[in-house]
């Protein structure tokens, strides 16, 4: 070979530098993670201790973020509720991914009747209002948090399927899929080794958004008595319960609201950072 003098090899990078968004996301989520694990020990007051004498106290040195209508410490309740809220969001999302991604892959890869059947089933699922679907699952049995998680997970399956299928369809046109077929790969290899790695980036972003929606939907379910049960604490439940007092005592919603916002932004940044990290084109600077 005399006709090719390749450019000198640049030194190979071994570890891509971490994207900024990933670091910020981790920084935001770290205190929440601590609270989720150790909330009940860190809380200055028991989360369900009522104190009729100090109802609706504004934030002050005694109660940092004030108290609610039963005189419970808002900060303690937020701390203790971290775990259940995050578990709700993350577990429900994981469930929807677990069910949705394979269905979407198959629908996109197979097409035809199988694909149609999957997509129409998803349409039926989507046509139910999420709350109704939640109620459907929970109404027949005793409410419990894991059931709420399952209900929310199911609600979000169609979105995951649609996204996965759309990307799969696009990737199926790519020539590297043709190349895989030409060397005699089976469908499973093509789906899970050629297509799936290319689906993760958009899916990671989607999933980080889903976590947020799942927490909020969990709150709605709690509000109608289907999710977390009073007096247990849950961010969504706390915000819902604060609504009647929003004019007298806006601080009741402030602390859980702030925690929820931190989680939302943190998870979003984490998702975006993961997308960048997973992309081989990433060279670090963002």
């Amino acid at each position: 070979m005399t006709d090719a003098t390749p450019a000198p090899l640049a030194p190979r990078r071994h570890l891509p530098s971490l994207p900024v968004s990933l670091i910020v996301g981790i920084v935001l989520l770290a205190p929440l993670a601590v609270a989720a694990v150790a909330g009940s020990w860190l809380a200055p007051y028991p989360y369900d201790e009522m104190n009729i004498m100090s109802r609706l106290q504004p934030p002050g040195p005694e109660f940092w973020f004030g108290t609610d209508e039963f005189g419970r410490d808002v900060f303690s309740r937020t701390l203790v509720g971290t775990g259940s809220s995050l578990v709700m969001g993350v577990a429900a999302t994981a469930l929807s991914l677990l069910a949705g991604v394979p269905l979407g892959l198959i629908a996109g890869y197979k097409g035809g009747r199988i694909g149609e059947a999957i997509m129409r089933a998803m349409d039926v699922l989507m046509s139910f209002p999420p709350i109704l679907l939640g109620i459907l699952v929970l109404a027949v049995t005793q409410p419990a948090q894991w059931k709420a998680i399952v209900a929310i997970g199911i609600v979000y399956v169609p979105q995951v399927v649609r996204l996965t299928r759309a990307i799969t369809l696009e990737l199926m046109q790519e020539e590297f899929i043709t190349a895989a077929r030409l060397r005699g790969e089976n469908a499973a290899y093509i789906l899970f080794h050629e297509i799936l790695p290319n689906i993760w980036p958009p899916l990671a972003v989607e999933a980080s958004l889903r976590v947020v929606f799942a927490i909020l939907l969990g709150a709605s379910l709690s509000f109608i008595g289907m999710g977390a049960q009073p007096p247990s604490s849950d961010w969504g439940l706390m915000i819902s319960e604060a609504r009647p007092f929003v004019e007298q005592a806006p601080w009741i919603a402030l602390c859980p609201g702030f925690a929820l916002a931190t989680a939302v932004i943190g998870i979003n940044l984490l998702g975006d950072g993961l997308r960048a990290l997973l992309d081989p084109r990433n060279t670090g600077a963002h």
Partner: protein, 709 residues
């Protein structure tokens, strides 16, 4: 975006200002430096670029992709995107520096006095608006015409760009028009406001060769009749030769040579220009010619050059070249060249690798045993529905109609045709990627499609494909090594260490360092990726490789590289190729036999040397006459310009009848053409008698004497 107007650099050391005896230049670019910057660093797309276009002059701006030619065109139009920034320099249009004008005035100039036509007509027109409305838009915007006046003007414009039924075209949506018609409509849009300067950015690259020939003719005629000046950005020297009076050669964002087209292309002074001219694929009767190529990849600058930019790829480079930046040297006639050795090298051609690397070519098997691939009456219809319910039945679109041919062992068969000719479908059918609607494809005596359907993939691995798009054919999330490892795993090679060695060996085989196994596709250049594609195809140890436009997306210099590699592999490994391309010049370099396909049928088939000489099928003749040539290649034969009509496959008559310049009459539309056969396997499907076809003058007279082939 443009920065605030800056003081011009006190001295513009290498600005090439032609002496311009009479008229002042219409466009005068001086010291233009453009950079693209992001967090990862700065890339200089243009460094101190200067050139001038006089009124009525068409200037070619040529170079490989990445040389900065489109960036300069976009900077003139003030349409730099993607973080591009003009750092310094002047763009004088009619004596006014465009960079000093306020944004609103610049915008008013654009589309009015400076108009542009871009590469891809298919994306340049808005699919949701009628063509007429899109042409009328600038007339209403810039010339304040009423919609009614504009509509009348649109009809005139369309007639002027050679559209025969302007009324139909104004009311049509873009998808209803062929690529050639769309590009004509875009040219009409550009002409609408009677501009003084046209920016043509690869206006014919996306078109078929026969359509390209007509569009170039049209542009040359229009520039002449309107006294237009034009900046013609192109990578195709043959096209530049046809339309441009002067040419500016760019490399790594620097002007390396400038001068009259005839001189630059016949006696290039800069080594880079020499290389570009030498690498242009020309029609040759003999296969096995190694094409001259330019090694390496295009230079990317991050700041002012510290040495000659071309030195790493230059066969004439000396120590001085690697240590000192080169200045532009201007001669008495105003021609410039950025090489201190230009005078010394005046008579030295680009080195011909053939003399050094030529090996005694093994003779093609004279009487092949059984052919490797046999295609018998292949027919492929897309979208057909043979339902028992009459209202669901659909005839579908015929892509391939009754095609039969064979590929012998160790043989290279070229398939030449335009877009929509069915050539890719033929390739896909041969690889069992698409199921034939009728007919059979036998691979080594076995029906491959049936085998694959039954789940037997072993035979299929012996037939591989090299794609056109080198980027899309590699999974962006897999390293080169992973992509090549997989076929070995499938072949049952269990030892990972041994597989790694094989991958390294294959990479070396295609001329890449074995360390490339750890790289991701986006880290490679287009030519390197295409080498990886070839290596991956070879990993299954195939007998047969379909190359589907495998070199079409590459720069001429790289194209030559890949063609040489494919020819070498064929010689050493005894591979058979089906080489699918639109470029008959490329095919003449590599193919033993050529099939010319049109509208899903074979018009002409035969040994390469025979197809390139009369008698020709009228379509082959048109294809050959569209091959661009440089002055030194001899007199250009009169070009055969084809009508701009879609092929009519699957009909009763000859598929080419609608566009045929030598159509006999109704018989061509109504009856399938008879096939004239010769003993050496040459066949032509045409109603015109063979004797009449043979009377035509050769498009390439120099090939006729080469009867020995």
């Amino acid at each position: 975006m443009m920065t605030a107007p800056q003081a011009r650099p006190a001295v513009a050391p290498v600005t090439v200002t032609a002496p311009a005896p009479e008229p002042a230049p219409l466009l005068d670019v001086r010291g233009l430096t453009i950079s693209y910057g992001n967090a990862r660093g700065t890339l200089r797309a243009a460094s101190d670029v200067g050139f001038a276009i006089r009124p009525g002059e068409v200037m070619g701006l040529v170079g490989e992709s990445g040389s900065g030619k489109s960036t300069i065109a976009m900077a003139i139009l003030d349409l730099l995107g993607g973080g591009g920034r003009v750092d310094s320099g002047e763009i004088l249009f009619d004596g006014v520096d465009l960079r000093r004008l306020p944004a609103a005035e610049r915008r008013a100039l654009r589309g009015d006095r400076i108009a542009a036509v871009f590469q891809d007509p298919f994306t340049s027109l808005n699919p949701a608006l009628t063509v007429g409305r899109q042409i009328a838009e600038p007339l209403i915007q810039h010339k304040s015409l009423s919609p009614r006046q504009a509509a009348a003007r649109v009809l005139d414009l369309l007639a002027e760009v050679g559209i025969r039924d302007p009324r139909r075209v104004t009311a049509a949506y873009p998808h209803e028009l062929s690529g050639g018609m769309q590009q004509r409509a875009l040219i009409a849009t550009a002409l609408g406001c009677e501009p003084k300067l046209l920016i043509l950015d690869e206006p014919t690259t996306a078109l078929d060769v026969t359509v390209e020939a007509r569009i170039i003719d049209l542009l040359a005629k229009l520039c002449d009749s309107h006294g237009l000046s034009a900046l013609f950005v192109s990578h195709n020297l043959g096209i530049v030769n046809r339309i441009c009076q002067t040419v500016t050669v760019l490399y790594g964002g620097l002007v390396v040579e400038t001068g009259p087209t005839g001189r630059v292309l016949s006696r290039p002074a800069h080594p880079y220009s020499k290389g570009l001219v030498a690498a242009l694929p020309r029609i040759t009767a003999g296969r096995r010619h190694r094409l001259p190529s330019i090694p390496g990849t295009v230079a990317k600058l991050s700041g002012p050059p510290a040495a000659c930019v071309f030195a790493p790829r230059c066969p004439f480079a000396e120590e001085t070249c690697r240590s000192q930046p080169q200045a532009m040297l201007t001669d008495a006639a105003g021609d410039g060249v950025r090489c201190w050795k230009a005078d010394a090298l005046a008579g030295t051609p680009w080195p011909d690798e053939e003399s050094a690397a030529r090996k005694p070519a093994p003779q093609a098997p004279a009487q092949p045993t059984a052919p490797l691939v046999e295609v018998d009456h292949l027919r492929k219809v897309y979208g057909a529905n043979r339902s028992i319910l009459p209202w669901l039945r659909r005839a579908g679109t015929v892509a391939v109609e009754d095609v039969s041919f064979t590929v012998g062992r160790g043989e290279v068969v070229g398939v030449v045709g335009e877009s929509g000719s069915g050539k890719s479908t033929i390739g896909r059918a041969l690889l069992a990627l698409t199921e034939p609607s009728a007919g059979t494809v036998l691979f080594d005596g076995t029906d491959l499609t049936r085998q694959v359907k039954q789940g037997d993939q072993d035979l299929r691995r012996r037939a591989q494909l090299v794609f056109q798009n080198s980027a899309a054919s590699l999974n962006p999330r897999k390293t080169v090594g992973d992509a090549m490892d997989r076929p070995l795993v499938l072949a049952g090679r269990a030892d990972a260490e041994e597989r790694r060695k094989t991958v390294a060996g294959l990479l070396t085989r295609v001329g890449l360092p074995s360390a490339y196994a750890d790289r991701y596709p986006h880290e490679l250049s287009g030519g390197e990726r295409q080498r990886v594609n070839i290596a991956r195809a070879l990993a299954t140890d195939p007998d047969f490789v379909v190359c589907d436009e495998a070199v079409s997306a590459l720069d001429v210099s790289v194209q030559a590289n890949i063609l040489n590699l494919l020819a070498e592999l064929r010689d050493e490994m005894g591979l058979s190729y089906l080489f699918i391309t639109h470029d008959i010049a490329v095919v003449s370099h590599i193919a033993d036999r050529v099939l010319v396909v049109y509208g899903g049928t074979i018009c002409e088939e035969g040994p390469t040397g025979r197809v390139l000489r009369p008698p020709y099928h009228p379509y082959t003749e048109a294809l050959l006459s569209a091959v661009p040539r440089l002055a030194e290649d001899g007199q250009e034969a009169p070009r055969i310009l084809l009508e701009d009509a879609a092929p009519t496959p699957g009909g009763q008559g000859c598929a080419f009848a609608a566009r045929c310049p030598r159509k006999l009459g109704a018989i061509c539309d109504e009856q399938a053409p008879p096939v004239h056969r010769a003993d050496d396997g040459h066949r032509i499907a045409c109603h015109i008698p063979l004797a009449t076809l043979a009377e035509r003058a050769a498009v390439f007279p120099e090939l006729v004497g080469d009867a020995a082939h």
